[in-house]
C-alpha cells in the first residue's frame, strides 16, 4: 500500500494559532501566482492599472477630451478601435481615462474605509470595554443607514466631484473593515505570542503595531481587493443616479450611465466602458480570491 502527499496542496489541519500567519512576502506573491484564479486576477488588475496610468499620463491614441465634429458616433474602426462618442471623442482614450478616474475614486474610497475601519477595528478589538462598545455601536449605526442614502447625502451636501464620490463610497464601507478586523484582533490579543510579549514587558503600542497589526494585514489586503471591486460598482451605481463625478473627466460609471440611452443607436459607447468595468471588477475579485488563499496558512505547505 502506498500513499503520496502532494506538498503543494497543503495540509488540511492548521496548527492552532497560525490562522493568520504569513511567513514571507515573496511567499504570498508566489502563492498568488500559483493560484489559478489569483493569476488571472493579477494579470487583469495589472492590465487595468497600466491602462489607467496610460489614461492619466496622456499615453492614449487621442486626447480623451479632443472633440472631432467630423467623427461623431463612429462605429469601431481601425482609427478608433472602440468607436467614438457623441462629441467625436475617441472611446478607447476615454476608457483609459475613465479607468483612471474610476480607480482613483475606488482607491481613495478604499483608503478612507480601510484606514478608518482598520484603526477603529483594531482599537475596538484590542482595547475592548467601552471603546469597543462605542465603536461597535457607531459601526452598527453606519451599517444600518442605507449606503445609497449616505452617498446621496454626502454628494449632495458637498457637491459632485471625484473626491466627494470617493468619500461617499468610503464611508459606506467603513463598517465592513471594522468588523473584518475586530474579530481577528480580539483573538490575537489573547494569542500566546501577544501574551508572551506582555510577559516580556512589551508595551501595548509595540504589541499592537509590531505583533497584532502585521498579522491582520493579510485579511485587510484581501478585503481591500474586494472593496476596490465593490467601489467601482458603487461608483457606477451612483453615477446612474446622477451622483458620480461630473464630466469632462468622466469615470467609467458616468460613461456607462451617459451612454445607456445610446445603447440602441451606438452600442459601442455602452460596451466600451462596461467591458472596462467588468474587467476591473473581475480582476479585483479574482485577485482577492487568490490573496485569500495565499494568506491562508491552511493552503500553505510547511
Amino acid at each position: 500500500m502506498s500513499v503520496v502527499a502532494d506538498p503543494s496542496l497543503g495540509l488540511p489541519e492548521a496548527r492552532e494559532g497560525l490562522q493568520l500567519e504569513r511567513p514571507r512576502r515573496h511567499g504570498v506573491l508566489r502563492a498568488l501566482w500559483k493560484h489559478p484564479r489569483g493569476r488571472i486576477g493579477c494579470v487583469l488588475v495589472g492590465l487595468v492599472v497600466l491602462l489607467a496610468i496610460a489614461g492619466a499620463t496622456g499615453l492614449t491614441p487621442y486626447s480623451p477630451q479632443l472633440q472631432n465634429p467630423l467623427a461623431v458616433l463612429k462605429a469601431p474602426s481601425l482609427a478608433h478601435p472602440l468607436g467614438t462618442d457623441q462629441f467625436g471623442r475617441d472611446e478607447l482614450s476615454m476608457v483609459f481615462q475613465g479607468l483612471f478616474v474610476s480607480l482613483e475614486i475606488a482607491c481613495l474610497a478604499v483608503a478612507i474605509a480601510g484606514v478608518v475601519g482598520t484603526v477603529a477595528g483594531i482599537v475596538a478589538g484590542y482595547l475592548g470595554r467601552w471603546p469597543s462598545a462605542v465603536i461597535m455601536r457607531v459601526t452598527d449605526m453606519l451599517f444600518a443607514i442605507p449606503a445609497i442614502l449616505m452617498a446621496l447625502a454626502i454628494v449632495t451636501a458637498l457637491g459632485p466631484g471625484w473626491l466627494n464620490t470617493a468619500l461617499a463610497i468610503g464611508v459606506g464601507y467603513i463598517p465592513i473593515f471594522v468588523r473584518i478586523v475586530r474579530g481577528p484582533v480580539l483573538s490575537l490579543r489573547e494569542s500566546a505570542y501577544v501574551r508572551a510579549g506582555r510577559v516580556l514587558g512589551f508595551s501595548n503600542v509595540r504589541l499592537l503595531f509590531r505583533h497584532v497589526l502585521p498579522n491582520v494585514a493579510g485579511i485587510v489586503a484581501v478585503q481591500v481587493m474586494m472593496a476596490l471591486a465593490w467601489s467601482i460598482l458603487a461608483e457606477a451605481a451612483l453615477s446612474f443616479l446622477g451622483l458620480g463625478p461630473p464630466p469632462p473627466m468622466a469615470s467609467l460609471g458616468e460613461m456607462v450611465s451617459q451612454s445607456s440611452s445610446l445603447a440602441a443607436t451606438a452600442w459601442w459607447t455602452l460596451a466600451a466602458p462596461s467591458i472596462a468595468i467588468v474587467m476591473a471588477v473581475i480582476g479585483f475579485n479574482l485577485l482577492g480570491d487568490g490573496l485569500r488563499d495565499a494568506v491562508d496558512p491552511r493552503t500553505q505547505s510547511r
Binding site: L18, R22, P23, R195, L200, G201
Partner: protein, 335 residues
C-alpha cells in the same frame, strides 16, 4: 536546599466572571513557595487551574484575592516583573510571532529592556543566548515555521532567558512536543538550572516527567493544592486519593507491570464538575473518592502536614496508616 524563597503565593484566589451564572473560581486559596535554584512541579487534571496559577505568577493577570511576591516584591496590578520571572508556553509555535525571525525576536526583548547598548553587543548576546539553548547560529534568520517543535521551544526558552530572570514558569513545556524531543528539552532545562541558578515552576500532566525534574511537587485539584511535598514522597507514597488515582492511571511503559485497578475506582462524573461535589463546606473530591467518610461531606479538609515537608488535604489520609511505597503497581500476571 537553601531556604531562600524566590516566589511566594499566599492564599491566592482567582475568579472569572461567567455569563449568566456564578463566577468560575479557578483558584481557591493557593499557598505555595518556590525556593531558589529549585523546581516546583505542579500536577493536576485538566482545568484544575494550573495555567491560571502560571498567569498570575508572571503578572499577566491579577489575583482576585491573596498575594504573590517575587523576590520579595509584591506583584502589583499592571506591573509585570518581566526581569525577574518569565513564562514558557505549552505550544512554542503559537507563542512565537510567525512573522519574526529568531534573531529579531530575541533582539526585540533586548531593545525593550535596553540590554546591550550597541547593535553588535546585542547581536553577540543573541548568539550567546542561542548557544545557551544549544541552537546553532544558523537558525538566527529562520522563521518559527521553519523550525522543528523542539527548536522552537528552545527559542522560546532563550527569549525568556534574554531578560536574565531568576524564575521560569514552564506551563506544559513539552506536551506539544514529540516524545523524541521531550528528553532533549528536559535535559536542557536541567542544565540551564544548574548553569544559571534558575528556579522553575514546572507544570505538567506527565507525572514521570514531573517526577524527573522537580524537587517539590504540588498536586492540584479544582483550584486547590491537595498534596504538597518532596517529589519522592508525593509520587512514590501518595497520600491523597486523587494523587493515588493519578499515579495509577498512568500507563507504565513496561509490559511486565500493571497498574492496580483498585486505585482507579473513580466513580461519579469523570469530567471535573465546576463546583466541587462536596459543596461549599465539604471535601471537593468527595463524589469521586473511594475512601470518603461522613466527615468529608461536612468539613473542608485543610492542608496539614503528614510528614515535616509533606502536607495533604484529606481527612482520611491524615488518620489512616501510610500505604506502602509504590503500592499501586503490581507485577503483571504472565500472559
Amino acid at each position: 536546599m537553601s531556604g531562600d524563597i524566590v516566589l511566594q503565593a499566599t492564599a491566592v484566589e482567582k475568579e472569572y466572571p461567567a455569563r449568566g451564572g456564578p463566577a468560575v473560581r479557578a483558584l481557591r486559596g493557593v499557598t505555595l513557595q518556590v525556593e531558589r535554584a529549585s523546581t516546583l512541579g505542579v500536577v493536576g487534571e485538566s482545568g484544575c487551574g494550573k495555567s491560571t496559577l502560571a498567569r498570575l505568577m508572571v503578572g499577566l493577570e491579577t489575583p482576585t484575592r491573596g498575594r504573590i511576591e517575587v523576590m520579595g516584591h509584591a506583584l502589583e496590578p499592571g506591573r509585570a516583573l518581566a526581569r525577574q520571572i518569565q513564562l514558557v508556553f505549552q505550544d512554542p509555535f503559537s507563542s512565537l510571532n510567525p512573522r519574526i525571525t529568531v534573531a529579531k525576536a530575541l533582539q526585540e526583548v533586548l531593545v525593550v529592556h535596553r540590554l546591550g547598548s550597541t547593535r553588535t553587543q546585542r547581536q553577540s548576546r543573541v548568539d550567546e543566548l542561542l548557544g545557551l539553548v544549544a541552537l546553532s547560529p544558523r537558525y538566527r534568520d529562520r522563521y518559527p515555521h521553519e523550525l522543528s517543535g523542539g527548536q522552537a521551544q528552545r527559542v522560546a526558552i532563550a527569549r525568556a532567558l534574554a531578560v536574565e530572570p531568576k524564575i521560569l514558569v514552564l506551563d506544559e513545556p513539552t506536551s506539544a512536543l514529540d516524545v523524541s524531543v521531550r528528553a532533549e528539552i528536559l535535559n536542557l532545562l536541567v542544565r540551564l538550572q544548574d548553569q544559571l541558578d534558575l528556579s522553575y515552576v514546572f507544570i505538567s500532566h506527565d507525572l514521570a516527567m514531573v517526577r524527573h525534574v522537580s524537587d517539590v511537587i504540588a498536586v492540584m485539584y479544582l483550584g486547590e493544592v491537595v498534596e504538597h511535598g518532596p517529589y519522592g514522597e508525593v509520587l512514590d507514597a501518595p497520600c491523597h486519593p486523587y494523587t493515588r488515582a493519578l499515579a495509577a492511571a498512568i500507563p507504565v511503559p513496561d509490559p511486565t507491570r500493571r497498574a492496580d485497578p483498585s486505585a482507579l475506582e473513580v466513580s461519579g462524573r469523570p469530567d471535573a464538575a465546576r463546583e466541587p461535589l462536596g459543596g461549599a463546606t465539604g471535601c471537593p473530591y468527595l463524589g469521586r473518592c473511594p475512601d470518603a467518610e461522613a466527615v468529608c461531606a461536612e468539613q473542608h479538609p485543610a492542608l496539614r502536614p503528614i510528614e515535616p515537608d509533606h502536607t495533604v488535604a484529606c481527612h482520611v489520609a491524615l488518620r489512616a496508616p501510610r500505604r506502602a511505597p509504590r503500592g499501586p503497581l503490581v507485577e503483571r500476571a504472565p500472559s
